[in-house]
């Protein structure tokens, strides 16, 4: 069975800014506030809706951080599921149009 691609895009309902390498993210719908560590920030910044998550992990995470690819992929999927649950990231198995306000 072919591997399913996951595409991720940032929601238009959020505010975000990097502070000393870590991303602050706030969902304007419910004012939930998060800070993302460096690895999570890398994935968040690469979430353009067109690049499959596995490519983001391979090209951005494994490239920059000394991590095991399988572990990195599993962690990334968990992180994406969590942020998607809070409406920060949109997730699809199809490429996503980038949301703008």
């Amino acid at each position: 069975m072919p591997e399913t691609c996951i595409y991720i895009a940032r929601s238009s309902a959020i505010a975000a800014r990097a502070l000393a390498g870590e991303m602050m993210v706030m969902n304007s719908v419910d004012s939930t506030f998060f800070t993302l560590n460096e690895v999570a920030t890398t994935i968040f910044q690469a979430a353009d809706g067109h690049t499959p998550l596995r490519d983001i992990v391979r090209d951005h995470v494994c490239e920059r951080f000394d991590v095991d690819p399988e572990q990195a992929q599993a962690d990334a999927e968990q992180f994406v599921a969590e942020l998607s649950g809070h409406g920060i990231l949109l997730v699809s198995n199809q490429p996503l149009a980038s949301e703008t306000p």
Binding site: A18, A20, M26, F33, F34, T35
Partner: protein, 372 residues
């Protein structure tokens, strides 16, 4: 410490301007009796200039931006500005009187992902509110707008400025806020006018009424804690700073002038002449503001209230020295705790003077002259 406080402290320590208050116009459709602004347009920034400022602020690390005025919706390009800010992923808050917000505007505000809308309501009695704004039917229009915004699921805060003419109405406004399903915040601060006119200070509520406000649990929460006598200041308190003005916060006027705070009229530079980060990082005035620790304050460093006082360095500056006391905050500390401040004691006062006697010289906000 909450995550938000941790981030705020981190920005403060790093000198990152986490939050900016930007007035996009001083023009207004109301003429509130206590307003400190000159409502004429002396050359507001254009749409393109504001967008350029927003680009610079995003690059500087600004996360929270508050658009205020004047009445923001008097700018025909206001939604274009908000849309641009949201594309840059700012957390946007809007302060407005809301009289120009109808269903369509409310829907647009929701679509743009605005975080909060703060709206001034002076009384639950239409005749009192309208007498303060000097705009007939403004109460009715403002309340209708709040309902439109709530229908869109937006977060609204009613800001209730307390003054002599509405001092008994806070509980009515609080009930109105609850009925509308919105937050309520009270502010007893009346600021001198930009042109130096101190007459508006006569609208400040008298001390005894301020005392009642500070001892009302419905307004201050845990009254015992809020009104507790000040703890002796620790060494850490004396090494601390008054507030975030100039550290992680600043104010930008409609003319591009940059100040440490909306209530701190010390010009530090103009964005039409310099890059924002050059002003933020290198302005001697900004650096002076951020150098002042509690231990450097001329009177307040020896005051028992120094660790808990709401001392505003901007109001102190308007009284003559950014290192000096702010009489309005001395008054608040006194009526909150019943304990005289060092500033009062040095003047031999057992309770604050009436406001009419507080006629300290005033330094004014004026647009910085920009060469043509």
């Amino acid at each position: 410490m909450s995550l938000m406080s941790e981030v705020g402290q981190k920005a403060f320590n790093l000198g990152v301007p986490l939050a900016v208050h930007m007035d996009v116009t001083y023009r207004c459709n109301e003429r509130c009796v206590h307003c400190y602004l000159d409502h004429d347009d002396h050359g507001e920034m254009t749409t393109a200039e504001i967008k350029d400022v927003l680009d610079q602020l995003a690059e500087a690390g600004v996360f929270f931006i508050t658009f205020s005025g004047g009445e923001v919706l008097l700018r025909r390009d206001f939604f274009e500005i908000v849309e641009y800010a949201r594309r840059l992923m700012f957390n946007v808050k809007i302060k407005t009187n809301a009289v120009m917000i109808h269903e369509e505007e409310a829907r647009r505000i929701r679509e743009l992902g605005v975080d909060t809308i703060q709206i001034s309501v002076y009384s639950h009695r239409p005749e009192v509110h309208d007498a303060i704004t000097k705009l007939p039917h403004s109460f009715e229009r403002t309340i209708k707008a709040i309902r439109f915004l709530r229908e869109q699921g937006l977060r609204v805060t009613i800001a209730n400025v307390l003054m002599t003419v509405n001092s008994s109405d806070h509980s009515g406004v609080q009930e109105l806020a609850a009925e509308l399903g919105v937050q309520y915040t009270l502010d007893p601060t009346i600021t001198p006018m930009m042109d130096g006119d101190m007459s508006v200070l006569s609208l400040r509520i008298p001390g005894e009424e301020l005392k009642e406000v500070f001892h009302n649990p419905a307004l201050v929460g845990n009254q015992e804690e809020f009104c507790a006598p000040p703890k002796p200041p620790s060494e850490e308190d004396l090494e601390g700073y008054s507030c975030s003005a100039g550290h992680s916060f600043c104010y930008i006027s409609p003319y591009g002038d940059v100040f440490p705070c909306v209530q701190f009229p010390l010009p530090t530079g103009n964005i039409r002449q310099q890059k924002f980060l050059d002003i933020w990082n290198f302005s001697p005035q900004m650096n002076e503001v951020r150098s002042i620790k509690a231990k450097d304050l001329t009177v307040c460093s020896s005051c028992s209230h120094v660790s808990s006082c709401s001392r505003c360095p901007g109001l102190a500056y308007m009284e003559g020295s950014m290192r000096g006391p702010s009489t309005a905050d001395c008054e608040k500390s006194f009526y909150r705790t019943g304990i005289p401040t060092a500033n009062m004691l040095r003047q031999g006062l057992s309770k604050p003077r009436t406001m009419a006697a507080n006629t300290a010289p005033l330094i004014q906000i004026r647009p910085i002259a920009v060469p043509a």
